[in-house]
Symmetry: C2
Subunit: 199 residues, 2 copies
Amino acid sequence: MTATIADTIYRSLSQQIIIGALPAGEKLRQDHIARAHETSHVPVREALLRLEAHGLAVSEPRRGMRVAALDPSEVREVIEMRVVLETLALQHAVQNLTPKDIKAAAEALAQCDAAEDMPTWEARNRVFHRVILTPCAMPRLLHAIDDLHIASARHFFAHWQRKWVQRQDADHAAILQALKGRNSAAASGILSRHIRRML
Amino acid sequence: MTATIADTIYRSLSQQIIIGALPAGEKLRQDHIARAHETSHVPVREALLRLEAHGLAVSEPRRGMRVAALDPSEVREVIEMRVVLETLALQHAVQNLTPKDIKAAAEALAQCDAAEDMPTWEARNRVFHRVILTPCAMPRLLHAIDDLHIASARHFFAHWQRKWVQRQDADHAAILQALKGRNSAAASGILSRHIRRML
DNA sequence: TTCATAAATATTATCAATAAAAAGGACTAC
DNA sequence: GTAGTCCTTTTTATTGATAATATTTATGAA
């Protein structure tokens, strides 16, 4: 487990972007970040490239990087992509579902409902969604979905922070119920509505 | 319009990977590539990171990069992702379709049918697919589709190279016809079958 | 308004350190 | 006595630091 410096910087920056500490459009200056992390600009550069790859930053050639915008049209785009990709993943996941997977999903659901603050809930919500899709065994698809979840999380922090209250998520419970019955169509339908509701 | 060195190296490497000159699993050594391009390892490193971002290479930390594998299961994954994402893009594209877009699509179709060798056809085929989807005006979705097209192209070069013959693509013509009639459902149906046929 | 110059910043090169793999040798077990 | 394994050493490649170069943008004067 050799954590490379670039990796550390990447995680730090992506987290700050997700929670909104680094707002959209903010310039990401290499040597500024390098000084903050007490390192040279080389690993910073690598971290920035990875941010760009995951859609969290955009590069203007020879003019540096900025935090990626997150306008309403792109949020809608992300939601629609999530609907079709997560539905696809779920179809396959249902076919491979083992009792162990069901158990893991139930556990993730309980963790999610038990979250007492919004950042915790957000992280556990992502875990729940990932757990129910992982059995599809399609790594490329899962990676794509992860990136979309990150974009969704940014939107969530930006627009739902104030309104969040602790509650039991009925959608999650309904999805789990459908999974238990191996009812792929029902699960997909609920999941679709659930995702669109986040808009 | 200053093409950065890293950009040049990225294009060179990705092209070699797509056509199969760099086979899956091949080690991508920084200083070797740097010497070949008469430059230092720094821009090479940036190019490799971009390859990884687009799914053409995989990095093993502290052990370098290798050309990404392309096993049958991942090809199927790519095809299924293309079906749902291109269908989604097409639905939106049909709504925004202008006469100019139709004209551009017809032109791309003609270019594609006129291709006399397989690499030319492959490039123009990608152009056709991009042209009919571009009006959807969803940049993130289009980027995702581009990456999937690149993966498809790798598979195409690996498995269809021998069998390719010049011909008029009936699917393309049928899609164009459906687009002219603003028939979103028909266009999506043909496109889905068309993509799956590539497997 | 336009051109020139200066300052800031990204990009690339050269140099250094660190981590992993490979090779070689010694010790132990059979 | 031989073979196999483990440890040490050497080599190689990636990662990181420092320095120089080029490009862009902003500012000021003509």
